[in-house]
Amino acid sequence: MDLLEYQGKQLFARHDIPVPAGRPARSVDEAVAAADEIGYPCVVKAQVKIGGRGKAGGIKVAQDAGEARAHAEAILGMDIRGFTVHEIWIEGASQIEDEWYASIIFDRSAKKPLVMFSTKGGMDIEAVADETPEAIATRHVDPLLGLQPFEGRRIAYEGGVPADLVRPLGAFLTRLYETFVAEEAMLVEVNPLIVTPERELRALDAKVTLDDNALFRHRENAELRDPSAEDPQERMAHERGLTYVKLDGDIGILGNGAGLVMSTLDVVARYGGKPANFLDAGGGSKAEAITQAVEVILSNDRVKAVLFNIFGGITRCDEVANGLVEAFRQIAPQVPFVVRLDGTNDQEGRRILAEADLPNVHPAATMDEAAERVVQLAKEASA
């Protein structure tokens, strides 16, 4: 789960990482009240889970209440690269002497957390890595030991930090690592990590991704999920425990198993189609899950045709067939379905479908055949 900037900063503050004082606001009046409380100059920042806010006009400095109101009005509701701004964050303006970068990610290859630091902050770190890799100091951390003080110092020395800030940076990284571990994050990134004229370090931005699988141990973090900001289909799927990703095409896809569904998207694309979603009904999908999945897929009104691609392992094809029959009984879909059933109890499943004789449901023998057919049907529907 990605956090909004201000949620990340609140997490940082919990672990004694210095951040500018600020307040979130969801309306213009709230924003002005927050700005008055914080004092001027302050910064009005759009809270969206996407980069490039500044360039898009989502970050503005307000010198007085009038400006704060004007900026809040402009930014709330703004569209930034496809994300609507529902919330803004008002914080005291910081004086900046230097902009650095710090992050901790999971390094899959090393199976260890990786700390990255650079005195070249405020810009895209991938660009820094490409252009001046020597400007980035890195260190793998042993998960059983944690980040040791000497490692913090070493990163600081290798990163070319001025002598007076070596220990402060070490302490900053230690707290960042504590946050990473205590909150079970997959990523914590501070860009820029600023040096103030008083030679203090401060997180001016915060990018935090939490591990969804660990949220059961972090109830207060689990509440940070903001359903209003989510896509309605994704929210619906999430509530039903289905794995769904919305895409921008018109062919609804359902399969069992993440790999098979990804593969199905690819094969549909090869035949010239555009999938409307990724939906993994999961291993061992029962009839009810299938019915709910159909609901989710069809709630996207761009969908012109649907492909069921099931290779039954734990999932039993008869269960899938029953779920589809039930879905048709409840929803009576208006779009064509192509259904490929293979694997456990496939004959029984095919028999159930044949007997139900659902309107506009087309069986297919192979994955390729199914993909080709659904693409064709979607094209016919659009024509």
Binding site: M186, D212, N213, G259, S263, D266, M367
Partner: protein
């Protein structure tokens, strides 16, 4: 021969008394896997259709000589169960459980690496099937028969799809290894490819990768340097948009990293043939097997 599980496997199932655990344990047993015991704290002394249940792995190992564990407990308890199995001297641990917190996994991997002599397959994987010998996990064995194709995959159902297409063309498998879809699998492509390379029964290796991470790229380098047997690859997720987790926790294109195109390119650059659909993979594999 086979890899990871086989006729020497003596399986102990953690979470054997749960409904899923019982179901798949009995499935595995029916297949012929030597299931010697199970562990469920608080249920020691009972049995599951004759399979004795113990409170601790220590006791299960002592009394039934288990050398392989299958982990079926819920995610919150899985890391503890894996560490317990390893502590009790189990050498092969197959963790089926999906949704284990990533920091738990890190801790477990680090500890297992430190301990040495323990192999963890998974978590979040369908297990390992060595046709005709042992099935540890949830792979539907009916679609596979004995043969010379070793399969290693991050995905379960995709493996069945590919395996089935190969079987339909008349070929069988030495072992089918699902390494799982988590960001940091206990056993990597390289680990399994090395085992297949050393396994006399395996003639050809199929690896099924997907978006996210660089395990496929590293496997490509490894294959070029160390593997003499033919390898055919598949990568799922060419059309996956960046920044979205596609079902598996590890299946995500981050920025420009971890794309299917980059992986396929890396493999092809090292001479590995990459099929663009599961069917193509099966066709290429069969072409090579028939040519060989």
């Amino acid at each position: 021969m086979s890899v990871i599980v086989g006729s020497d496997t003596r399986l102990c199932v953690s979470g054997i008394t749960g409904s899923e655990g019982t179901f798949h344990t009995l499935n595995n047993k029916r297949y012929g896997t030597n299931v010697v015991s199970g562990v469920t704290p608080g249920k020691g002394g009972r049995d599951v259709e004759g399979i004795p249940v113990f409170d601790t792995f220590a006791k299960a190992v002592d009394e039934t000589g288990a050398n392989t564990a299958m982990i079926f407990v819920p995610p919150a308890f899985a890391a503890d169960s894996i560490l317990e199995a390893a502590d009790a001297g189990i050498e092969t641990i197959v963790a089926i459980t999906e949704g284990i917190p990533a920091h738990d996994e890190l801790r477990v991997f680090t500890q297992l690496r430190r301990q040495g002599n323990v192999r963890l397959v998974g978590p979040n994987c369908p297990g390992v099937l060595s046709p005709g010998k042992a099935n540890v996990g949830i792979i539907p064995a009916a679609f596979f028969k004995e043969g010379g194709v070793g399969v290693v995959s991050r995905s379960g159902t995709l493996t069945y799809q590919i395996g089935n297409e190969i079987a339909q063309r008349g070929f069988g498998n030495s072992s089918i290894v699902g390494i799982g879809g988590d960001p940091v699998p206990g056993t990597s492509f390289i680990d399994v490819i090395a085992l297949f390379e050393a396994d006399p029964e395996t003639e050809l290796i199929v690896m099924a990768g997907e978006i996210g991470g660089d395990a496929e790229e590293r496997a490509a380098d490894y294959i070029a340097e160390h593997v003499t047997k033919p390898v055919v690859a598949y990568i799922a997720g060419f059309t996956a948009p960046p920044g979205k987790t596609m079902g598996h926790a590890g299946a995500i294109v981050s920025g420009s990293k971890g794309t299917a195109a980059a992986k396929a390119e890396a493999l092809e650059a090292k001479g590995v043939r990459v099929g663009r659909t599961p069917t193509q993979v099966a066709e290429i594999a069969v072409e090579i097997l028939r040519g060989a």
